[in-house]
């Protein structure tokens, strides 16, 4: 099926797989359900407008892999629906050359009562394939999905992972000219994800066009050379992955900071206890430019700074900080005495004040949310007693755009690799 909606092939020959001009989509929010009818029948105007996509220009050449990125509600899905022709644009037009297969949402295009097999037939028919074409690919789709006996059960009994498997198997096997994937790949097990990535690479190598949509910059960056950044229905920036990642990061930082500092503005709901001889009056995280922040990038320097004040005499106050993941996993704890070169603060008297700062050269954590807990304890007694203990004193987010390593932490490492063979011997090395 050659999907060409909007104004079809214009006089000149286009080399774009997808071309969109001044594309906008306005949803009408009706105050009362009946207004819908009046609108259709009489073109009455009793609705509020919501512009999900606004004045978008896109030119995606054949054979490219393009990422569309933006926060939730940025208009990515609305844009995709316009590109695939599911909805019609309010203004502008779309030209598409070739068959589009899309994987828009979990279970999109499936009939819940149909079995996996029947849904495969249904989907192939929707994509405009003849029964012969379907029959030819049928077994490949079934094999790829690895659904086993579930292929003969209604898809309403499927888990979300199974949905994705079936959906991806169909979309990837029908030999589309353009494949549109809307972050569906994030579901499913590691094994199937690997298979999907392989298949995607094959499709790209065949010179097909792939449009990949996500709110995860890391995932987009690893797949796409060209990235379109959307916000509030508009294209904020489009360019190479590096350029756009930069803008995206700035925005994500600003947004994360805004959200997290909002959280910290209110009175803390987490417990705080201690005898109170010394008080930490201020606690913050600083980025490499020494600006207070709640968002830090993996591998970059940062510091934790606190300001203290002594109200009463105290024999041996020790400042410590604990690092936790939001699920409560204790990742790291340290204080100024547990060091190769311990700091000896000794006795403080009323009126003393000062600052503590912990400098970290490289943020070792990968993408996620974390929090800090303050431990100010008196170590002069047999067992340390709390002076000022503050649970959850600061929440912060770590952004990781490079995705150099997987997992929870980044481990700086050096790799060597040697090869000996008839063609000679070589020793390869990577420092970072």
């Amino acid at each position: 099926m050659s999907t060409q909606h909007g104004a079809a092939a214009t006089g000149r020959e286009r080399s774009s797989a997808i071309y969109a001009e001044d594309l906008s989509k306005c949803y009408r929010i009706y105050r009362k359900p009946i207004h819908r009818l009046w609108d259709v029948v009489f073109n009455s105007r009793s609705y509020d407008e919501f512009w999900a996509v606004r004045n978008v220009y896109l030119d995606i050449p054949h054979g490219s892999t393009v990422g569309i990125i933006g926060e939730n509600g940025a208009g990515k899905s609305s844009l995709l629906k316009l590109l695939t022709g599911i909805t019609t644009p309010t203004t502008g037009r779309v030209e598409v050359q070739g068959r589009i297969a899309s994987l828009l949402e979990l279970g999109a295009g499936f009939h819940p009562e149909f079995t996996g097999r029947e849904n495969i037939r249904l989907n192939c028919a929707i994509l405009g394939m003849t029964p012969e074409e379907t029959a030819e690919r049928f077994q490949r789709i079934v094999d790829f999905s690895e659904l086993g006996d579930f292929i003969d059960r209604p898809v309403k009994t499927y888990s979300s992972g199974m949905y994705v498997r079936l959906g991806f198997s169909v979309a990837a096997t029908v030999d589309p000219d353009i494949l549109i994937i809307d972050e569906a790949l994030s579901v499913g097990d590691e094994h199937f994800r690997g298979k999907c990535t392989n298949r995607l690479n094959e499709i790209r190598e065949q010179g097909k066009t792939v449009v990949f949509v996500s709110h995860d910059m890391g995932a987009v960056k690893s797949m796409c050379k060209w990235v379109v950044l959307m916000d509030q229905g508009k294209v904020l920036e489009q360019g190479t992955a590096e350029q756009v990642a930069d803008t995206y990061l700035k925005r994500a930082k600003a947004r994360g900071n805004e959200r997290l500092s909002m959280v910290h503005r209110g009175k803390s709901e987490y417990p705080r206890w201690g005898s109170g001889e010394v008080e930490v009056v201020h606690f913050e995280m600083l980025d490499e430019h020494r600006a207070p922040t709640h968002v830090i990038q993996t591998g970059r320097p940062y510091s934790i700074r606190m300001v203290w004040k002594a109200h009463r005499e105290c024999a041996n106050p020790v400042f410590g900080v604990g690092l936790y993941r939001t699920d409560g996993t204790y990742l790291n704890g340290s204080n100024h005495q547990w060091r190769e070169q311990p700091i000896e603060l000794q006795r403080v008297v009323p009126g003393d004040e000062g600052e503590v700062e912990i400098f970290v050269e490289r943020m070792p954590l990968q993408h996620g949310q974390y929090y800090l807990t303050l431990f100010l304890y008196d170590h002069s007694k047999a067992s340390p007693t709390a002076i000022d203990h503050r649970e959850h004193v600061l929440t912060f987010e770590v952004l990781d755009v490079d995705r150099a390593q997987h997992g929870m932490i980044q481990v700086p490492s050096r790799w060597t690799l040697t090869r000996r063979g008839p063609s000679g011997t070589s020793a390869l090395e990577s420092q970072r």
């Binding site: 009818l37 259709v40 589009i100």
Partner: protein, 291 residues
């Protein structure tokens, strides 16, 4: 032209329509344990119920004027005809919402939905008609029923127009009747499907309408009875009444449909189909937004 567009689309998406009809019929006939059996038993059950209510409890005069075998066949034919109409109209009304997952998330030719429903309904109707034809053979030829002895107050058989069951060339008109029937019901189906997207209350309205409409159609009582009581306009304005009578004449008694009725029916069916599809296609590009 709207109808040409519908035709082209149905032809292009024939495999897709086939999928849906196949699944639908299989679901009905294979899914349940008794399967196929139910499609026969269901009308038979309603036949038994209505025969009991109308002939024995309410003593509708039909039973006194005609042999029971004829009454039963006439009622059965009426029930399956109506069943086909009701199925198309009610199922079409909800079909866009039921298949919202397809319409909202993939490029889906939604116009095939009411079409596949009517094809599946037609299959059921054909089974019913086949059964009636069998009955006509049995009760018209193998065991012809004599005119029952009329009560004293009725005129003699000849005067009140008793007719034996008869298979005739008029059967050739059945395909035409079927086409007009489907056109009429399908047009309504398209209209109500679209309306139901805009106002969800339409679904409730449809089920109420179908019930009232059924009793306004001479399925369980003879048409003449309505006329006698002065409600002739009810059947005159009801295309389903025309259809039921025409089917009965053509299948049971070898009567050709009246040309005037046929012309009216053709006009109404075309108008229904044209208006329904026009309205449907006009709103179709916004279905995904409505859902």
């Amino acid at each position: 032209m709207t109808l040409a567009r519908l035709y082209r689309s149905l032809r292009r998406h024939a495999p897709l329509v086939g999928n849906f009809v196949d699944k639908d019929l299989k679901g009905r006939y294979i899914g349940s344990t008794a399967g196929f059996f139910w499609s026969l038993v269901q009308p038979l059950l309603s036949l038994a119920t209505y025969t009991f209510v109308f002939s024995f409890v309410l003593d509708s005069r039909w039973s006194a004027q005609q042999p029971t075998s004829q009454v039963v066949l006439m009622m059965y034919l009426g029930i399956v005809t109506w069943g086909c109409h009701a199925e198309i109209v009610t199922r079409s009304t909800g079909t866009l919402i039921d298949n919202g997952n397809l319409i909202k998330k993939v490029v889906f030719p939604s116009e095939i939905l009411p079409a596949y429903i009517s094809m599946s309904a037609l299959a059921n109707l054909l089974i019913g008609v086949a059964l009636v034809l069998l009955g006509t053979l049995v009760f018209g030829y193998a065991f012809p029923a004599a005119d029952p002895t009329p009560p004293d107050w009725l005129p003699s058989p000849g005067e009140r127009g008793f007719e034996p069951l008869r298979l005739g060339l008029s059967l050739l008109s059945v395909p035409l009747l079927l086409a007009l029937h489907l056109g009429f019901s399908l047009g309504l189906g398209y209209l109500l499907a679209t309306l139901n997207l805009m106002i969800r209350d339409v679904g409730h309205f449809t089920s109420a309408l179908i019930t009232i409409w059924m009793f306004g159609t001479p399925i369980f009582y003879p048409e003449a009875m309505v006329r006698e009581r002065g409600f002739g306009w009810v059947v005159d304005l009801n295309p389903m009444a025309w259809l039921v009578e025409a089917y009965r004449g053509a299948i049971l008694f070898g009567h050709w449909p009246e040309p005037l009725m046929l012309a009216k029916l053709a006009l109404v069916a075309l108008a229904s189909l044209w208006l329904g599809t026009r309205f449907f296609f006009k709103a179709q590009h916004r279905f995904a937004d409505f859902l």
